[in-house]
Amino acid sequence: MVHADPISQFDIVGISGPLFRVGGAPVAFTNSALLMAIIVGLIVAFMLVATRGSMVPGRLQSAAELFYEFTAQTVRESAGNEGMRFFPFVFTVFIFVLCSNVLGIIPGSFTVTGQIVITAALAGFIILMVVFYGFYKHGLGWLRLFVPPDVPGWLLPMLVFVEVVSFWTRPISLSVRLFANMLGGHMAMSIFAYFVAALLFGGVWAVISPFPLLLVVALVALELLVAVLQAYVFAILTALYLNDALHPHH
């Protein structure tokens, strides 16, 4: 797959024809859906194989236990022991984002988390869950979340409004951060990879074509770091926001 421009790698392409229509818009099985199916399949296969539970863990089981311990520690630190009821959810989100970030690095693959609609759907779901669970658990008392303590009375209405706006920006920052990191990183890789080809077929310039190639290699390493870190950031922020649903006190 050769990308003439850095953005075409994010194009959604239908693999099948339109399967059915929702409100006049055709719904097809796309490359994005294919990658998501592969990701879910990989995760399920990994977990099924890795958690067959022998007393002496093999390599796969050790890896699965590492994931478990790491996520459990993150959730406990961010949301306390009560937060562990959300552990399955946070773990699912973490491993899905991690897999889609890492699989997206493979050349010719597709980055699911480079689509704002995916990350926005994830973030929107998380925030709606926080809001609904907050009201379910604390009733209207959950709104104390928006009232910061130790604030002089004349400043309070303004600060409550700022808190509400600040809460509203959470899903935006959560989704845009992941989406922008993936989009930007992959575009940079694609641009420098294009330099390699352009220089190679540019006559004398072919001499310096290895330099952008080296840069691409370095960028792949950087992207791997970013992919893992962003998945971690996503998971830890999910846990932190869920903590606000559990404990609305400041």
């Binding site: 706006v165 920006t169 920052s173 845009v176």
Partner: protein
């Protein structure tokens, strides 16, 4: 980091340890572990404490929280204008409030608000 090797103060000998050599070996092993942990800490150096993933998360969060504040405020203002017909005041006011919320986000995430306890004005 995980304190798994905590020596239990009382139960080291176990129920009637018959082997006096056992205690000696245990003590030797403990000093060995201590030395290894100390060495690990020194190898990590000054960098070891600061490079925890949590602080890295903080660094990655700050800029995006600020940008999200402005974007969120502008978006909310536009929605307000669009549905309530308050153009252009919704956008102006909420963009500024979004800016405030962005700064507030950054202050909170960097621990600025927790550090001083109550704000100086109050």
């Amino acid at each position: 980091m995980a304190p798994e090797d905590e020596p239990s103060p009382s139960g080291s000998a176990g129920p009637g340890s018959p082997d006096p050599d056992f205690d000696r070996r245990l003590a030797a092993f403990r000093t060995q572990i201590e030395r290894a942990e100390r060495g690990e800490k020194q190898a990590g150096g000054s960098r070891g404490e600061r490079a925890s993933p949590a602080s890295l998360v903080g660094a990655l969060r700050l800029s995006s929280e600020f940008i999200a504040g402005i974007l969120g405020g502008a978006g909310l203002g536009w929605l307000c204008d669009h549905f309530l017909g308050t153009s252009p005041w919704g956008l102006i006011v909420l963009l500024l409030l979004g800016f405030v919320a962005g700064v507030y986000n950054v202050m909170r995430d960097s621990g600025f608000l927790d550090a001083g306890g109550s704000p100086p004005a109050g």
